[in-house]
């Protein structure tokens, strides 16, 4: 019995020492995960996640301080890829697929105050001081920063309409729905 105790104790001490050495010399510097997550985020620094930009948000997600569902512009596709990267499982039906919107300036109400184009993170608004402003729809990400500051409330967030090129078949009626109706 003594021999058994001795053997196990030796094994434990040896393995513990090895692990300690490994944790010191084989440690990973910094957090490459954060870099990779940042690559995956949209990068428009819109702030809808309540972090001051995509870098701090990536850091929070990498540390586990933020859920992977915090980025509305990323949508379900982003949640799925983050879930795969971090190896967590996530209930996709909880993720709200935010309807993509694009800002639109109602020119009759615009006073040319330039507050909106200074805030736009992708320079999607054109216009100068005392001149009517307009939005490049292709560059707009729907982050709503301009919408928040416009003093005359002339900016409207319009949902992007499907075109013949973007329309596709929806998922078929879930069998559960149909079955439930029959029950």
């Amino acid at each position: 019995m003594i021999s058994a105790i001795l053997i196990l104790a030796t094994l434990g001490i040896t393995m513990g020492t090895l692990l300690g050495i490994a944790s010191k010399y084989l440690a990973v510097e910094g957090n490459p995960l954060q870099q990779e997550i940042e690559e995956m985020l949209p990068g428009s620094q819109c702030g809808q996640c309540n972090y001051p930009g995509c870098t701090p948000a990536a850091e929070a997600i990498a540390n586990g301080d933020a859920a992977i569902t915090i980025c509305p512009p990323g949508g379900k596709a982003l949640v799925e890829s983050l879930a795969e990267k971090l190896g967590v499982s996530v209930e996709l039906s909880d993720v709200e697929e935010k309807i993509p919107t694009v800002a639109y300036v109602h020119e009759s109400l615009c006073i040319g105050c330039t507050k909106c184009f200074k805030r736009c993170p992708t320079d999607a608004i054109i216009g100068g001081s005392k001149q009517i402003h307009a939005v490049f729809a292709d560059a707009c990400t729907g982050c709503e920063k301009c919408y928040d500051v416009c003093p005359t409330e002339c900016i409207e967030m319009r949902p992007i309409q499907p075109t013949l090129q973007t329309w596709y078949w929806p998922l078929p009626n879930k069998e559960g729905e149909k079955m439930a109706k029959a029950a």
């Binding site: 320079d123 560059a139 078949w169 929806p170």
Partner: protein, 510 residues
């Protein structure tokens, strides 16, 4: 006893054998439709970029006049089906399941049906160079009329990049109910053959094969007799099986070779064209007529008088339905094309387009939708799939949200033929899952692309801001320097002045 050209045929995997229901319209000869009150001609009836309008509201146009020109390499022009006045160019419901609007030219016929000036025709088109033939085909706006609507001239020009030695004419018409190609071959075999040979000349092929399914013996006979004098044209009978009309599987049946994934049949040296396309080529090269009409089958048990009709492009479907006696029984589904791969239509307002080969009005019994049950893994779909895929697994993955997993087992190789959903005992809408997934993946790619662009723009802006700040800082430093120098100068000046004053004072006191 019919004698066809004998050729060794190969088997395709899977496939199904639906009831062909062609008896409703097969014996109806092609009739012309009376002129409708309004024509709606969409600017995009083909794969590729939409055509660019050349007319505007109020213009008077003649029959065959070009209304919109092609844009870019993969595109096709659109011509006026009859003479009349342009009422407007704007959004109109598209010939599409979604019911969304598409830019459409509305033409009011003036009842005179006058031809405009057509391009000069060569007395012997076979003397033309292949690229000239292709150019005339492009100018006539001819697209693949089997439903795919790929611009035919682009396909004819494939000889530039690939070594093409065989032209295959797809006379399979494997979809149930449809009989338009069958009637065309029976009634105009000479014209169809002429078009085929012109295409063969344009491609520079050594041999031509006209492949017709065995459920169309009269068409086989007619084409065989027409082609008797041409040794390099063979008429071959195909086993009646769906999807024999799929060009990849047609080529496999005829040659035993599979088209490489993500590739074209041109990789095998073969180009496939539809029978109606051949007729359009004949019309364009012999008479200079652009593509302004086509033959369509109107069928189904909910329509009073099924028929094969030559319609002008742009005719509203309601006009067609009225001509065929209207709907008789309870209409369950209105379908453009055949029942296997056809699109449901939102209403009969939509116009006929270059690719509409059929209009089906199906009753409840014909549409045969059953109650959806869970998958029992019977693998009937695996047996039926002509592409060797696993429909049950792909659908299960898509249902669970793992689209990437479904791509890994071959979603992008699916041709959406519908054989799997046809045989499924649980009535699972497999094809809809696949179409959804393909659309969702395309949409995510677009989102990725947009995100890339957004990042680029955001970074550009940040860089711009930095540059402005930097410029400001440098300007500030410069000004500081300036100020310092000025101050020093001022100080020096003052010192000099003070010294001078001293000197003056001293002089004054002396």
């Amino acid at each position: 006893m019919k004698i066809l050209d004998q050729m060794k045929l190969f088997k395709i995997r899977g496939g199904v054998h639906p009831e062909d229901c062609k008896n409703f319209a097969a014996e109806q000869g092609i009739v012309d439709l009376p002129m409708p009150p309004l024509l709606h001609i969409p600017l995009q009836q083909h794969i590729g970029a939409p055509a660019q309008p050349l007319v505007k509201r109020g213009d008077l146009v003649k029959k065959g006049q070009i209304l919109a020109r092609s844009q870019g390499l993969v595109s096709a022009p659109v011509h006026a089906p009859t003479s009349g006045r342009i009422m407007g160019i704007g959004g109109y419901p598209a010939h599409h399941a979604s019911g969304l609007l598409i830019r459409t030219i509305t033409l009011k016929p003036d009842e005179k049906d006058q031809w405009g000036k057509l391009p000069a025709v060569a007395s012997d088109p076979f003397q033309l160079l292949p690229q000239q033939i292709a150019q005339r085909v492009a100018d006539a706006g001819i697209v693949g009329m089997g439903g795919a609507t790929f611009p035919s001239a682009v396909k004819l020009n494939l000889r530039k990049r690939y070594h093409i030695d065989t032209l295959v004419i797809n006379g399979a018409e494997c979809e149930p109910y449809l009989t338009c190609d069958d009637r065309l071959m029976r009634e105009k075999p000479g014209d169809v053959l002429d078009g085929i040979q012109l295409m063969g000349h344009a491609l520079g092929v050594k041999s031509t094969i006209i492949a017709i399914e065995n459920n169309k013996p009269q068409a086989q006979n007619a084409m065989f007799n027409a082609a008797k004098d041409f040794p390099d044209v063979k008429v071959v009978g195909l086993p009646t099986r769906y999807p024999m009309g799929s060009e990849k599987h047609l080529v496999q049946t005829l040659t035993g070779k599979e088209t490489p994934a993500r590739g074209l049949t041109a990789d095998l040296g073969i180009v496939v064209h539809n029978v109606a396309t051949a007729l359009a080529v004949h019309e364009a090269l012999r008479f200079g007529n652009p593509l302004i009409s086509r033959v369509m089958t109107v069928s189904g048990q909910a329509i009073k008088k099924p028929a094969n009709i030559r319609v002008l492009i742009g005719t509203p479907l309601s006009h067609l339905v009225d001509f065929c006696g209207g709907f008789v029984s309870e209409l369950e589904r209105l379908i453009s094309g055949g029942p296997m791969m056809g699109q449901p239509l939102p209403s009969t307002r939509v116009p006929v387009i270059k690719g509409s080969n059929g209009l089906l009005a199906l009753t409840v019994d014909e549409a045969k939708s059953g109650e959806q049950m869970p998958c029992i893994r019977c693998a009937s779909c695996v047996q039926a799939c002509p592409c060797g895929l696993l429909p049950l697994e792909m659908a299960a993955n898509i249902k669970a949200g793992s689209l990437d997993a479904s791509v890994n087992i071959g979603l992008l190789d699916c041709i959406s033929c519908g054989s799997c959903a046809y045989v499924c005992p649980s009535h699972i809408p497999l094809v809809q899952y696949f179409n959804y997934a393909k659309g969702e993946l395309a949409s995510r790619q677009q989102v990725q692309h947009k995100q890339g662009e957004t990042k680029r723009l955001a970074e550009a802006r940040t860089a711009r801001m930095e540059a402005i700040k930097k410029a400001k800082r440098e300007a500030m430093l410069k000004r500081k320097e300036e100020m310092k120098r000025k101050k020093e100068q001022e100080a020096k000046k003052q010192k000099e002045q003070a010294e001078k004053q001293q000197e003056d004072k001293v002089e004054a006191s002396v």
